[in-house]
């Protein structure tokens, strides 16, 4: 802690009050969504709206889980996110290691190009990918969707892994080499175990990028590979404005990752702030 921490008790209580108000405001939308998902349809559309349900019901949850395609979409989301996470890590780990350990000119150009690729809007890559996947027979598959999502998560993964490898001292793999490890062996057996926290952070971000993606799923899936975000969006167009069902599906989809966030809080904060703070 540095000199920014306030020492006066009076000031501190004012800060507490401000922060409490802000946090309540910040948490409110999600809490309201949670309450809405337990309301009856009549209450959901009541004017004026009430915050708390007067009778709690799990009918919305039963309805969405028995809607055709919804349970399958969860499996699809999970499968796609797993594929995309593995793909990102398998490609990013060796590449970032090469860039940080061997510091060659092609390495520097490569990592800059990866950064530039992060700026490409999804629609620009997505539109030609529709034709490409059609040509190679991968239309409407989780693999095709995972590949498309990896175009977004791979550049991020490369940058994250590079900053984690940067923190591992060079001497570590030098001594591994002296002890007779091959170059690949020292990455696998010495450096990677030391940087496993970084691998975890990178995996979380790759997973989230895929889990929360909407535009690639919209462009590249139609029936078999449809993910839950598309199903959530469907509830508001197909059957009019069905907020009760929409919110319950959104809660079901968000709660696992929120729990993940709370459990892995330390790692996520490290990943978010690492690149930026090091400048």
């Amino acid at each position: 802690m540095n000199g920014l921490e306030t020492r006066r008790a009076g000031t501190r209580s004012i800060l507490w009050i401000c922060l409490t108000v802000l946090v309540i405001l910040y948490a409110f939308p999600f809490v309201y969504m949670l309450f809405t998902s337990f309301k009856t349809p009549i209450e959901t559309n009541a004017i004026p709206p009430q915050i708390l349900p007067s009778t709690w019901t799990i009918q919305n949850y039963i309805t969405v889980l028995s809607t055709q395609g919804v349970p399958q979409s969860f499996l699809n989301s999970l499968q796609t996110a797993a594929l995309s996470t593995i793909l990102s890590l398998v490609l990013a780990v060796p590449a970032s290691y090469a860039v940080t350990r061997y510091r060659t000119r092609p390495g520097r150009i490569f990592i800059l190009l990866a950064l530039v690729m992060r700026m490409v809007p999804a629609i620009v890559v997505g539109a030609p990918l529709i034709t490409m996947f059609h040509t190679i027979g991968l239309s409407d598959t989780s693999l095709a969707l995972a590949i498309a999502q990896t175009t977004v998560s791979l550049p991020l993964s490369i940058w994250l892994m590079a900053s984690f490898f940067e923190a591992v001292p060079d001497e570590l793999d030098e001594s591994a080499r002296v002890d007779g490890c091959s170059r690949l062996g020292s990455l696998w057996r010495v450096v990677l175990p030391v940087a496993r926290g970084g691998v975890a952070v990178t995996a979380i971000f790759a997973f989230l990028a895929s889990w929360n993606d909407f535009i690639f799923a919209l462009l590249l899936t139609s029936v078999r590979a449809v993910t839950t975000p598309l199903q959530i969006a469907n509830f508001q167009s197909q059957f009019g404005l069905d907020w009760g069902n929409m919110t319950s599906l959104a809660v079901l989809y968000s709660v696992p990752v929120i729990i993940l966030a709370i459990v892995l809080q330390r790692h996520i904060v490290a990943g978010l702030t690492l690149g930026a703070v090091k400048g």
Binding site: L22, P29, V99, M117, I123, A127, I215, I258
Partner: protein, 294 residues
């Protein structure tokens, strides 16, 4: 025996090949398509039209207006997030380690899918039965629950659609700035305090200049993402009312998919992409000034 630089190239090869095949190659095709006119649904042949798609894009009012809206949207998002994010980061710093539980709560919107956030806010802001207007009405800030037509008044819709984006990612700015604040050397702050600097002076003269590189990275990352925003807007207004939220990503998408004019969409997308990269590079060079900081 492989030399070290060959070995390094070999390790980069899979990732490079992937990016070449699934980012660079589609990108080349996208730019290539911008010189042709064709309709994929009708199956019409590709006709080379030179720069005509670009001329059409640049001379159409739709494209110009969408470009301006994209800039406005990005500005609204980044400005609101910066002010809110910095305020909260300073509150966190003021409370030190005691703010831990609040920092956890602040993290959760980052995990929520943009599409969920967009739909949720549409529900919160819905005319006459939305909870936001109801609460404002009960607090006597507005005189009737449907006084503010958040998403159906073309004059304010662009601001309203930005709210879920701000809600989702202010946490990112907060966490990055908070981490940056932890790294501001304590003795600099102590010295300024001893010189009698009050908090506003301290903030403007000492803290913000120290944070400059961190602020730059956070704003550039968020700016690039806001300029590409699609999910939150498409589910809230789909570009309406009266096109008032029709930003470039939506215009390109609709020209490509709904209007079936990929040639024109590609020309628009190419201009959009080039503009974004130029702005991002200029921003990196001027705001960040890598190397000029200690």
């Amino acid at each position: 025996m492989l030399t070290d630089s060959r070995f390094a190239l070999l390790l980069m090869l899979p990732a490079a090949a992937f990016l070449a095949a699934f980012v660079a190659w589609p990108l080349i095709q996208f730019v290539y398509n911008s010189f042709f006119r064709y309709n994929p649904i009708a199956g019409s042949p590709h006709t080379f039209v030179g720069l005509r798609n670009y001329l059409q894009a640049l001379s159409s009012a739709d494209f110009g207006n969408s470009a301006l809206r994209t800039v406005a949207y990005t500005f609204i998002v980044v400005a609101l997030e910066f002010v809110l994010g910095l305020t909260v980061a300073l509150l966190f710093s003021g409370l030190g380690n005691r703010s831990r539980i609040f920092r956890t709560i602040f993290l959760y919107p980052l995990m929520i899918a943009p599409i969920v956030a967009g739909l949720l806010w549409r529900f919160l802001l819905i005319d006459n039965s939305g909870i936001v207007n109801q609460l404002l009405y009960e607090a006597h800030i507005i005189s009737s629950p449907n006084q503010i037509q958040w998403l159906s008044d073309p004059n304010i819709a662009l601001f309203s659609v930005a709210l879920p984006d701000v809600w989702l990612t202010t946490s990112f700015i907060t966490l990055v700035l908070f981490a940056g604040l932890q790294n501001v050397p304590g003795d600099i702050i102590e010295a300024a305090r001893l010189d009698g600097a009050r908090y506003p002076t301290l903030l403007a003269r000492v803290i913000l200049p120290q944070l400059r590189p961190v602020i730059a990275v956070a704003l550039i990352v968020r700016g690039v993402d806001a300029a590409r925003a699609f999910d939150v807007i498409v589910v809230q207004t789909n570009g309406g009312p009266q096109n008032s939220t029709n930003v470039l990503s939506l215009l390109v998408y609709n020209t490509q998919i709904a209007n079936g004019n990929p040639g024109l969409a590609s020309a628009m997308g190419t201009i959009y992409l080039i503009a974004m990269m130029v702005i991002a590079i200029v921003a990196v060079v001027t705001i960040w000034r890598p190397g000029s900081e200690s």
